[in-house]
Symmetry: C2
Subunit: 330 residues, 2 copies
DNA sequence: AATAATTTCATGAATATTGTCGAATTTGCC
DNA sequence: GGCAAATTCGACAATATTCATGAAATTATT
């Protein structure tokens, strides 16, 4: 049934019905009420495509997420999508999903009003340029640390330093003085570089001898931890760049017949699902994804509806305290 | 730019341009070629809404997923979405995401050609009826074990028994005879009921004294395992209904000063991310989500494009062997 | 072999799809 | 009758597609 038939049944003109359905003022309250009731009763729904064609808007935003090398793990991706959908949905927008590489061409823009782009570690400014049709489609990019070099988009940057700062302050307050750093190689570069400064800010001194670059597996973390704990002046606490490495570090401690947090404290990063399940549950650095989603969508909607200028925001991480940290052993 | 302007630039009629773009036979190859090239060059894209309005199809399927009580964890949800997008995308369909409860009303059908509905444990046949507009919209439901009572939809059922059967056979072949069962309460009912039969099929005898219903946390699993291991004739292997419970069971074993898999073997269920990170990495029962996605979308596309009748398929779980199982200790 | 007749083919014009919105018109009320 | 509120009318959005047209190509006829 289309609006013509529907209007005929109601003995009203198409225009009146349309206005009633659009909640416009020029229609009498009783008429509106009647139209709404009848629509419900007869199951009449306007044709979305015709509607969008006429009003020239799609009420649709697409969320773009690369397959490989996520900033956000799958778990966070769902959380992000949920948040995005919630606030976008409240404004009448649908969410279109596009997983898979940013490089794929066949992305019919024209059918969305805006883009939420989750940048992977390999995403470049050129990718954003192409995805946004040279900036013609409003877009907000979820990026690590700093915006990409494409100023027509808005950015929500994920800054991991605040949470790490908290972590170090937490360790410092527990009396730890020698803190080991287990890195994950390439992607963690920025944190690695900032680590000495963060240590200083927490009133600690940075000893380069206590840093190891590990890989990505628990075993990598375990090996690095064993090395550090075998030093003549071993650290009393370990900070690992990822929870996976941290879980390996925990294993290393128990291999040495010691306990976490009794003998050694461990802090991870990312708050993966497993972090709460490891024994002991891991104190870790996390980011509030719903916050990110809300900020991103708000920025995007402002660009779409008010032609607002692109903005750059930063969301910091924070510490989640579980049971893997305790007072420094003397 | 719309097709009118575009046709004017090309000195062709709208009809010819449209035909060329739609790859229809009635247009000469040179003309088509020219149109395609020029479209690329001038960046002309047809208006999706007008297009869909005219052809009466949306080329869009929506994936429906309830917030609470997933059949599939978030991780699997992304995997499912990826699979769905891949095969649906290959047929020109976009993927619309709808997370949140199935109960929410404001779901403008009319704008999608089909639905992939992930049933939660609370989803009812009535929910499906409403979502599909009494069956008017083609739909495929991802459900546990058996179809819901709404035959207008297709079903891909997730059957956990095959993987559990494999698990028990694996334990039997390692010499285990007494196997403990740690359940998760309500949702695991079906497996619970089938467990004695599966035991028998693996050549084992079922002892009701070795069953405990735990909750959902690692601690629940730990407690249940401690109880079982304190029996006068304790089990030599533990099957836990979820990996979370299994991780608790592993903790229980080490609390008793014993090791997994040296003294006690443990098998989990679900293959959550953490399963591979626990120490030792957990042997567990998993389902192949990409398979599920592919089957679901194929069934759905058949319903959409060929008006195929709804079908019911079943995908079974399988065992993933890691390092938490070993020969029975004597 | 040449001309007429017929078929094939590409193209153009017109119409259909469904809803929105500004302008014009009707209705109601004083 | 005049004014305001409510309603109707008609143009418009962008594309697919049917039907008609003209040209070219093929066949038939003598």
């Amino acid at each position: 049934m289309n609006i013509v038939e529907f209007a005929k049944i109601l003995n009203l003109s198409i225009g009146t019905v349309s206005r009633a359905l659009n909640d416009r003022a020029e229609v009498s309250p009783k008429t509106r009420q009647m139209v709404l009731e009848k629509a419900e009763e007869l199951g009449f729904v306007r044709n979305t495509n015709a509607r969008r064609l006429v009003i020239g808007r799609n009420y649709m935003i697409r969320i773009e997420c690369p397959t490989s090398t996520h900033i956000l793990s799958d778990r966070y991706l769902v959380e992000l999508a949920r948040g995005v959908e919630e606030v976008a949905g409240a404004h009448g927008y649908d969410l279109l999903l596009h997983l898979g590489t940013h490089r794929s061409d066949a992305v019919d823009v024209q059918e969305v009003d805006g883009l939420v782009i989750v940048a992977g570690s390999e995403t470049t400014a050129d990718d954003i340029r192409r995805l946004t049709q040279k900036g013609r489609t409003p877009a907000v990019v979820i990026a690590w640390a700093t915006p990409l070099d494409f100023p027509a988009a808005s950015y929500v940057c994920l800054d991991t330093l605040p949470g790490v700062r908290e972590a170090l302050e937490c360790l410092a307050s527990l009396g730890h003085r020698r803190i080991g750093y287990i890195g994950s190689g390439q992607p963690g570069q920025r944190l690695r570089d900032a680590f000495p400064r963060l240590m200083a800010e927490a009133g600690l001194t940075w000893d380069p001898a206590l840093a190891r670059e590990a890989g990505t597996t628990p075993d990598d973390g375990c090996r690095a931890a064993l090395e550090l704990l075998a030093l003549s002046e071993p650290p009393t606490a370990l900070f690992a760049r990822t929870d996976v490495l941290a879980s390996g570090a925990v294993q290393a401690v128990s291999q040495l017949g010691k306990t976490v947090p009794g003998d050694v404290s461990v802090i991870g990063h990312d708050n993966i699902e497993a972090a709460a399940l490891v024994n002991p549950p891991l104190t870790t650095v996390a980011i509030n994804i719903p916050d990110v989603a809300v900020l991103a969508v708000k920025a995007l909607l402002a660009m779409i509806t008010e032609k607002a200028d692109p903005i750059t925001l930063t969301v910091g991480t924070h510490l989640i305290v579980r049971r893997s940290c305790g007072p420094a052993s003397s």
